[in-house]
Each structure stands twice: as structure tokens, then as C-alpha cells.
């Protein structure tokens, strides 16, 4: 049919107008676009175009599981000691905790006590007094998931503290976090901040032995040998520290970098329960040494001169101003439940991004001009109509990218340029078909109808096969490649609309208006 129902024409008009409206913000400058509502924004540029840093992080979930077992061992040790039950061979092996209760009469009692330590840890007791505590698979999985969620939150807080513009922090797959930082030129500081778990704990020093003795492998049970954070300035190389945590950094509410006696230090403040614990610990252990431990390294180990009851204090080490600032930032944001590792980093400087946009724009315009001219040379006025349809295709493509909040990348621009070449293919198929039908003796309107109808099947198949490739690219591609797949897909979908429906209305209208008797294909 070469008569179009009103709804079709209305549809084309509405879609075209919407397309122009949504594509329009891309003509504005950044400042002007900021005044527009959030649903009417220009397409967001990928990091490869606007410059910035992309980091792929991995949460070390195995660490979390090990940590869980280690703390279980400590709980078991504490419980059994309190009840004066004798045990041996206590330790974490693989994914379980092993121990043996020596006295036969203690065994029933020990079983009851150990069962109560952790609901999720199943106890298995043998006749010879050996026992195994093991976490269920669900418990381990839940622990891992919680660790990843928490890591995500802490990473977000740390980056927010730095005041980066529009950072994006997302979970990817099982245990990964993607951090995208537009405008960041050198991610070294961010990497070093994210590379620290920042687990702060306060422990008593074990004064029953010396660090030298312990260094020879004679560490008393319940204690551990930790290196000091700074080796110079007369600090010992390492300390023997009780494993028991007096107070943990999770109870901190605030931390600031400040000065004490002219040197950069970090001040901290505990919440109510932390303040009480800290107060109790310092009152009971006056005269002893309290080690301040960050990520398994001792920052300092001052003597407790008097109870600290206010819940706030100062960490002094040999900090530079930057180090003190970073440490206070880390303490404010909280500790990561597990270490993070940077698997992949991609940073593009803003000037290279600008160059890429420039190159992409020039290539697009050149490609556009060449295709337009080629089509006009070959098909004359109908070629110009096909060009119009293609331009509308580009407008719709830009509009849908903007509307969907998709990201335009450099390969995405390549996708746009290719779309131009391929979009006119549909019109080439149609026009060739029309010529053929006309040669076979059809009247002009009949030839036009046959052209569109017969070519449609071919166009449809050709589009679907390319869409299949684009879909797989999206599924398996990453970053910029996904951007390419998105533009290719949207461009193909738009061309089904513009090259077939819109172009047809234009051609029919044109032929009627000029009262043509034969196709104006030169």
C-alpha cells in the first residue's frame, strides 16, 4: 500500500520530534546542559573520551574465610581457658578448626560449650577426644557476600572522602568491583588508599618474652610477633603482641589529622561502647604498653600512664602530613573486610580524550559527507531522500543513547560511522529492487510498493544476523567494546524504522508531489 494511515504518519512525526528533542542537548556546552532536567541530558562520554581512570578490583574472599577461622580458634581458646579445660593441637587447617580435649571427663562439657560459640559452625566429635569445627557452605558464602557488600561500601566512602567528581563504583560478577573515576589523571593515590585494608586494633604488648626470643620461633601461644610500621628512629624491628584485641577500629566514630608538639598526628574518637572498653583496658593495664596496630604492623606502642576515659586519643608515629591525612581518612571511612587487589587499570589523560573526540568527529563528518555525495551521485533526488533518512537515523541513535544513559566510547563512534555505511544499504536494496520492478514493466507506484515489500524480508534477515553479532559483543565485551555493541545495535534498530518506513513515506510523497511517471533514478 502506498497510502499511509494517519497513525503511521503521526508515529513517524512523533518519533522524529522526540528524537530531535532528546538529541538536541548534545549540541549544548557542558555548562548549558547542567541546567537541563536529568532526563534530558547529552550522551555521557566514556572514560576513553573524557579522560579518567578505570580500576578493576578484586576482593580477596579467601582472606575473609581464613580470618573467620582464625577468630574461631581464638574464641575456642578463650572459652576453654575460662572453663579450665585442657586441650591440645588447636589450630585452623584447611577449611576447619581442629583440636583435642585431653581429659575424657571434660569432653561432654566441651562439646556443649563449643556448640554455643558459633551457630554456623558445626561440631564433629570423635571418641578419642578430637573435635572438628567447620562452617557450613551457606555460612561461608554469606560471609563472602557480606564482605563484598561491605568492601563496596568502604571503597565508596574512601573515594567520596577524596571528593572525586562523579565517581562510579559498581560490583561486577562474583567478587569484583569496578571503579570509574572521570577526570582523574593519576590514580596512584587512590590505588594506594584502596590497597590498604586499614584495620586498626589496640593490643597489649606481651612482656613475658622479648622480641628477639620470639623471633627465634618461641612465640607464646596467644601472642604474635608483628613488625613495626617504621623501622627507623630507634623503634624496635618487631613487637610481641597479645592476640586479644582490646578495642577495634570498628568502634571509631571520627578521626582527624592534626598536630601535636609540631608533628603530624592522627586523633581519633570512639563511640560510647568503644570508649568504655578503651577506658576499662587502660585502667586495668596502667603501666603496661599498648600497641597500636594497623594492618598487622605496629605503628607505635606507648606506655599507658593513666586511664583514658574520654574515649578519644592520639596516634603518633613518624607520619608525614600526607600520611597522617591518609590514615585519618582511612580510619573515618572504615576498614575493608579483606584486602583488595587491582587487576586492571586504564587511565586516559583528558587531552588524549579530547583528541579522540576530535578525530571521531572528523571521521564521522567525513564519512557522512562521502556517503551523502555517493548516494546523490547514484540515485539523485531519491538518493537525497535516503540521505535524509540516514541523518534521521543518526539523530535517533544519538537520542536513544542520551535517553538510555548509555556511554559513548571511541569504538562507539566507530560504530556510528559504520552504521552510516550500513544503514544506506537498506535503501540501496530497496531502490535496486524498484529499478528492477520498473524494468519489468510495472507502473511507478506499483514498482515502489514491490520494492519496499520485497526488499523488506532481505533487510530484516540482514539486520537480525548483524544484531546477533552485536548481542554477543555486548555479552562478552568489556568497557569500550560494549559501547560499540550498543551503538551498533541501536543504529540497526533505528535504521529498520528510518530506512524502511520513514524513507517510504518520503519517497511516495515526493513522487506524488512532483507527479512523476517514472522513477527519478537519473
Amino acid at each position: 500500500m502506498n497510502h499511509f494511515p494517519m497513525w503511521k504518519i503521526a508515529l513517524v512525526a512523533i518519533v522524529s520530534l522526540l528524537g530531535i528533542a532528546f538529541a538536541a542537548p548534545n549540541m549544548l556546552s557542558r555548562e548549558q546542559a547542567d541546567h537541563l532536567p536529568h532526563w534530558l541530558q547529552p550522551v555521557s562520554l566514556g572514560l576513553d573520551l573524557q579522560g579518567g581512570s578505570y580500576l578493576l578490583l578484586e576482593v580477596d574472599t579467601a582472606y575473609v574465610v581464613r580470618e573467620q577461622l582464625t577468630s574461631l580458634v581464638e574464641s575456642v581458646r578463650g572459652t576453654l581457658r575460662k572453663e579450665k579445660i585442657k586441650y591440645s593441637d588447636l589450630g585452623a587447617r584447611g577449611d576447619q578448626v581442629n583440636l583435642r580435649i585431653i581429659e575424657a571427663e571434660d569432653r561432654a562439657k566441651a562439646r556443649d560449650l563449643l556448640r554455643k560459640i558459633d551457630q554456623d559452625a558445626a561440631l564433629e566429635a570423635k571418641d578419642d577426644g578430637s573435635m572438628v569445627l567447620k562452617y557450613s557452605e551457606q555460612a561461608v558464602k554469606a560471609r563472602k557476600t557480606a564482605a563484598i557488600e561491605q568492601s563496596l561500601e568502604i571503597v565508596r566512602r574512601r573515594i567520596d572522602e577524596l571528593g572525586t567528581r562523579e565517581p562510579s563504583i559498581q560490583r561486577q560478577g562474583e567478587d569484583r568491583i569496578v571503579v570509574q573515576l572521570p577526570g582523574v589523571k593519576d590514580p596512584d593515590r587512590i590505588k594506594s588508599l584502596l590497597g590498604k585494608t586499614a584495620k586498626l586494633t589496640f593490643h597489649l604488648l606481651d612482656d613475658s618474652t622479648s622480641a628477639d626470643e620470639a623471633g627465634k620461633g618461641r612465640v607464646p601461644p596467644g601472642s604474635m610477633l608483628l613488625p613495626s610500621a617504621e623501622k627507623e628512629r630507634g623503634m624496635p624491628e618487631s613487637y610481641v603482641v597479645r592476640k586479644r584485641i582490646e578495642v577495634g577500629g570498628d568502634m571509631l566514630v571520627d578521626s582527624k589529622a592534626t598536630y601535636s608538639e609540631g608533628r603530624p598526628v592522627v586523633s581519633f574518637r570512639f563511640n560510647a561502647s568503644g570508649a568504655k572498653k578503651f577506658g576499662d583496658a587502660t585502667r586495668e593495664n596502667a603501666g603496661k604498653f599498648l600497641a597500636i596496630v594497623l594492618d598487622e604492623k605496629v605503628i607505635s606502642a606507648p606506655r599507658i600512664n593513666e586511664p583514658i576515659l574520654g574515649g578519644s586519643g592520639i596516634i603518633s608515629g613518624s607520619f608525614s602530613v600526607q600520611q597522617a591525612q591518609d590514615l585519618s581518612l582511612l580510619l573515618r571511612a572504615g576498614a575493608l573486610p579483606a584486602p583488595l587487589q587491582v587487576l586492571e587499570e586504564r587511565t586516559v589523560g583528558p587531552d588524549l580524550g579530547a583528541d579522540s573526540i576530535q578525530a571521531g568527529a572528523v571521521a564521522s563528518l567525513l564519512g557522512l559527507a562521502l556517503v551523502v555525495v555517493l548516494m546523490i551521485i547514484v540515485y539523485g533526488s531519491l538518493g537525497a531522500l535516503a540521505d535524509l533518512a540516514m541523518v534521521l537515523n543518526l539523530v535517533l541513535l544519538l537520542a536513544s543513547l542520551s535517553m538510555l544513559g548509555a556511554t559513548l566510547t571511541l569504538p562507539g563512534i566507530a560504530g556510528i560511522v559504520l552504521t552510516m555505511g550500513m544503514a544506506v544499504d537498506a535503501n540501496v536494496l530497496i531502490y535496486e529492487r524498484m529499478r528492477e520492478e520498473q524494468r519489468n514493466g510495472r507502473s511507478i507506484m506499483s514498482a515502489i510498493q514491490a520494492g519496499y515489500d520485497r526488499a523488506f524480508g532481505t533487510i530484516f534477515d540482514a539486520h537480525v544476523t548483524t544484531l546477533v553479532a552485536a548481542a554477543l559483543l555486548f555479552q562478552f565485551g568489556s568497557g569500550p567494546i560494549r559501547g560499540f555493541a550498543v551503538t551498533l545495535t541501536l543504529g540497526l534498530l533505528a535504521s529498520l524504522f528510518t530506512a524502511v518506513l520513514v524513507n517510504r513515506i518520503m519517497v511516495v510523497t515526493w513522487v506524488r508531489w512532483r507527479r512523476l511517471k517514472t522513477l527519478p533514478l537519473y
Binding site: Q341, R346, G360, L370, A414, R439
Partner: protein
């Protein structure tokens, strides 16, 4: 004669199918050559797949002194470090450092070393580090994407046409993909994620081309019930020839635009596309079409006989 008829001829009677054997030989040669090169020489993998470090450094103090830079970086003990000047000012240098033995942290440490040893006087326009873990995954995903795309495309063609067409589309697309791999292997062009994107685009484009011609074959099969298959295939190619020429031209000019003004990052992509355009068009006409001769496309006994005759003694069967 009207202009359009000179540019885009109609009613041509070229005997494309006649040259199927030389074409098959070329195809076989290209495929074997590609496989051989891939097996013997392998690829020049970019850091996306091989892992490692890539820096695009720009000297802030006039042209970069590659000689000194090479000497400085060569002594860091980071293994293979390659430097390459690009651009027109002589200030831009692409530095590639091979993947370091060890885990992710070692890669980061190597980057710091490189930056420290080059010192001030350079700005870094691009820095990429890919650790060993991610590199392996990207290889797996890339292979998976290409294989699945080929399978999905063949399935679709089978579903829309007949199984014979599915096989033809699969073989010709496979040919395009393999020879593009071969091109990258032989020329030593850097093989990276964008190359995979280009290969999938080529697969999509090539099958697009094939589908257009198959569509015409299917139509002609219905229209000319008794035409020998040999002539019918030739007719289909000739009938779609004008379209082929024009579409190749429009895509060709856009790819040329990308190649010459699209910038350094897209160069590999553009070269792959250019190759794919040529080889994809060739394979649609000379691989996908003549293959159909060897399948029995018509159902019904009479048709079968005609098809058999054609395959044996058509106007220009191979010697």
C-alpha cells in the same frame, strides 16, 4: 544510456560460478596460510590479552629521545620493553612493557619503576595495566564471543532458509573470520579487544552480504522452477551485483574515513574492517554461492535430476 545504468549495471551476465574452482583454491590457500601463520608465528597480542603495561608518554621538553629512553628502561630488568614513536611532533612515544612474572602487585610495582626512571619531563596520556588474571579471562571471552556468533548466525540462516544455506553461510563467514585472524598474524598488527570487535562486525557484515544473495536464490528457486541451478546462482549474483557494488562503496568510504582521520586507537580496527569488507564480499560471491551447487536445493524428483545434471555438465563445469 543513463548515468545510473553506467555506474550500476543491470542485466549483466557474468559467469561468476564458472570460476568456482580457482576461487575455492584461493579460499583454501588463504585458510591454510592463515592457520599456518597462526600456528607458526602466532599473534602480536596487545596487553588486553597478554597482560602487561602500556604507556602513552608525551615529552614536555621537545622531541623525545628514544635512544636514551630505551637505554634507561632496558636496564630496569622488566624484561621486554618496546618503544615506538608515533604522531607527527616526535614527542609521543608508546611504551609497552611485557607482563611481569608474579601477581597483580608486581605489575603495579613495574609501572611505578618505569614512571620513576623516566622522571619529570613526560606526561602520560594513557596508562593501561592488565594483570595476568584478567588477560586470561579476556582471551576466553573473546574466543567464546566469536565461536558463539558463528554458531548463532548459522542457526539463524538455517532457521530462515534451509540447512544448506546455513552451511554455506557458516563456511563463508568462518573463512572471513579465519583469514582476518590470519591477516593479523602475518602482518603482526597488534591483536587486542578492538580486533575482536572488528572480527565480529566483519562476521555480521559478511553474513549480511551472503543473506542478501541467498534471499535472491530462494526467490529465484520459486520463480524459475526448471532453471538449472548453475544459471540460477549466476542470475542471483548478477541481479544483486549493483547493490553489492554500491553497498561496498558506501561502507568502504566510511571505513576509509575512519582509517585516515579516526586516530591511532582505531587504526587496527579500521584495517581489519577494510580487509573484512573485501574478503566478505569475495566470499559471499565465490564461496557461499558456488557451494550451493553441491547441495540439492530443490525438492521433488524432476528437480533433483535437473540439479544433478547441472552439477555434472553445466555450461562451464570445472575440468
Amino acid at each position: 544510456m543513463r548515468l545510473i545504468d553506467r555506474i550500476l549495471p543491470h542485466g549483466t551476465k557474468f559467469d561468476f560460478i564458472r570460476y568456482r574452482w580457482p576461487a575455492f583454491c584461493i579460499t583454501a590457500f588463504l585458510i591454510i596460510g592463515s592457520f599456518t601463520s597462526i600456528a607458526v608465528k602466532g599473534f602480536n597480542f596487545g596487553i588486553d590479552f597478554a597482560g602487561g603495561i602500556l604507556l602513552e608518554a608525551q615529552s614536555t621538553t621537545g622531541p623525545a629521545d628514544l635512544h636514551t629512553m630505551r637505554a634507561t628502561l632496558g636496564h630496569l630488568g622488566l624484561g621486554e620493553v618496546s618503544l615506538q614513536e608515533f604522531g607527527t611532533t616526535g614527542r609521543d612515544v608508546m611504551i609497552r612493557v611485557q607482563r611481569q612474572e608474579g601477581d597483580e602487585k608486581t605489575q603495579m610495582a613495574a609501572l611505578s619503576k618505569v614512571k620513576a626512571s623516566l622522571g619529570e619531563g613526560f606526561t602520560y596520556r594513557r596508562v593501561e595495566i592488565v594483570g595476568p588474571k584478567v588477560g586470561g579471562e579476556l582471551v576466553r571471552d573473546g574466543v567464546l564471543a566469536v565461536v558463539l556468533a558463528l554458531a548463532a548466525i548459522a542457526m539463524y540462516v538455517w532457521f530462515r532458509f534451509e540447512w544448506q544455506f546455513g552451511v554455506g553461510a557458516l563456511v563463508s563467514t568462518f573463512h572471513d573470520v579465519i583469514t582476518t585472524f590470519g591477516l593479523f598474524s602475518i602482518t603482526g598488527l597488534e591483536f587486542n579487544l578492538t580486533t575482536v570487535a572488528a572480527i565480529l562486525t566483519i562476521a555480521g557484515y559478511s553474513v549480511n552480504d551472503t543473506v542478501v544473495e541467498y534471499d535472491r536464490v530462494r526467490e529465484n528457486l520459486r520463480k524459475y522452477k526448471s532453471m538449472p541451478l548453475y544459471d540460477l546462482l549466476n542470475l542471483a549474483v548478477n541481479e544483486t551485483l549493483a547493490r553489492t557494488i554500491l553497498t561496498v562503496s558506501t561502507v568502504f568510504v566510511t571505513v576509509l574515513a575512519l582509517l585516515f582521520v579516526g586516530g591511532e586507537v582505531l587504526r587496527g580496527f579500521s584495517i581489519a574492517m577494510l580487509w573484512g569488507l573485501i574478503i566478505g564480499t569475495f566470499s559471499s560471491i565465490y564461496v557461499a554461492m558456488p557451494m550451493l551447487i553441491y547441495f540439492n536445493l530443490r525438492t521433488g524428483k524432476a528437480a533433483e535430476e535437473i540439479a544433478a545434471e547441472t552439477a555434472e555438465g553445466g555450461p562451464a563445469a570445472a575440468p
